[in-house]
């Protein structure tokens, strides 16, 4: 018998410290598989955000750096400009990317920096204990929207993939989910395309990954998957928003 599924080489052996059922683990694995498949692990540097995945540096078996909250795209810009041959990806939460890091992601995308951004949209601030994210859904209860997100005072959930797709410098953007195997396989494909786009020098690529935070949603992992499918996917449609022909 042959091993047909196991831990990718681009992951260390350290067990994830994420909560049970948290999608960060799946996203990590998919990225690692893609790095393996392209054979780029040894020239890759990953940029961790501040958020639950600040610990990603422990789990990826490639060079890693931790950026200040929201600034991963700028750090990635600095690295890529200094070493254009390396493969640079950022891994960012929705607080990190879509709130405090808005200017950085917009301008990095607009400059068409040849990097890959993995954007974990779990509709909440996980690390800090469950506050409202820019992507929190209308009516969703969080520590800072205790009576549900009210669009009148808190605005509507931001559609990052759509907004960034308006920028000309962007090569590839898609939105995927991780709540069931079929979605996970699609997510993997999207991540492949994103890295491929970088490897081919096409410019900025981003994959928005709808993910669960069972802990701060107050749901079991299975309930969380269900909530994601019933609430997030209808608001955040899955699919590709921008593709350079050669990558799609």
């Amino acid at each position: 018998m042959k091993k047909v599924f196991g831990s990718p080489k681009s992951l260390t052996k350290v067990p994830f410290t994420y909560c049970p059922g948290c999608h960060h683990g799946i996203a990590h694995r998919l990225i690692a598989e893609v790095l393996d498949e392209f054979g780029v692990r040894e020239k890759t540097v990953g940029v961790c955000p501040v958020g639950c995945s600040v610990f990603a540096y422990v789990f990826f078996d490639c060079d890693m750096i931790c950026a200040a909250h929201g600034r991963a795209p700028a750090v990635a810009t600095g690295m890529k400009r200094a070493k254009p041959d390396s493969i640079i990806f950022t891994y960012q939460g929705d607080g990190d990317l879509a709130s405090i890091g808005t200017a950085e992601i917009v301008h990095t995308a607009n400059r068409g920096e040849n990097i890959t951004v993995i954007f974990i949209n779990n509709a909440i601030y996980g690390m800090t204990g469950g506050q409202m994210a820019p992507t929190t859904l209308i009516g969703q209860v969080t520590q800072t929207s205790p009576y549900g997100r009210d669009p009148k005072t808190m605005g509507y959930p931001i559609k990052v993939a759509e907004m960034l797709s308006t920028l000309k410098g962007v090569a590839y953007i898609s939105r995927v989910a991780l709540s069931k195997p079929a979605y996970i396989l699609k997510a993997k494909k999207a991540i492949r395309k994103a890295f491929q786009s970088q490897i081919e020098g096409k410019g900025f690529s981003l994959v928005e990954i709808l993910s669960t935070c069972p802990t701060n949603w107050g749901l079991s992992p299975i309930e969380a998957n269900k909530w994601l499918e019933e609430n997030m996917i209808p608001y955040y449609p899955l699919g590709e928003f921008k593709t350079p022909e050669e990558v799609s």
Partner: protein, 179 residues
Amino acid sequence: MLERIIISGFGGQGIMLMGRLLAYAGMLEGKNVAWMPSYGPEMRGGTANCTVLISSKEIGSPIVSHPKILIAMNQPSLDKFEPNVSENGLIILNDSLIEREVNRDDVSVIRIPADDIADKLGNSRAANMVVLGACVKKSKVVKMETIFKALEKTLAGRNQDLINLNKEALKQGAELVED
């Protein structure tokens, strides 16, 4: 009088609530109290613990290096804090989840099969109250009635059944220890 208590267990075992009830009760009895949680993401999946201080005088340092009382709700907690308990201190442990013996012989030890009792009571989440009941009875850091009052105030607005269940758990825990 300065009571120094550390309560430790898994996240989700209701560790913080145990501490807050003790502190609340201490306050209701006119003492100075302080409650300090461990905090931050390292709690996630890992151990959670809190410190309670109850004192007749102003409380200086809220940091307890050497608790007089340790409540260990699971094995990692016992491993972590056992060495620090002060001489002649008291360790109350959750027998349902801790198999090993306590190594120290200069402290009193009470073993409470908390999860088993809670399961019997029909709510596995009441294990914390069982242990707290035992602790209060044994240590007398506060009176049992005050804990009841604290419970009512803390859970005010919640289901009365829940409050009653917790009281029952406290009582059952208390019955397991001698005065």
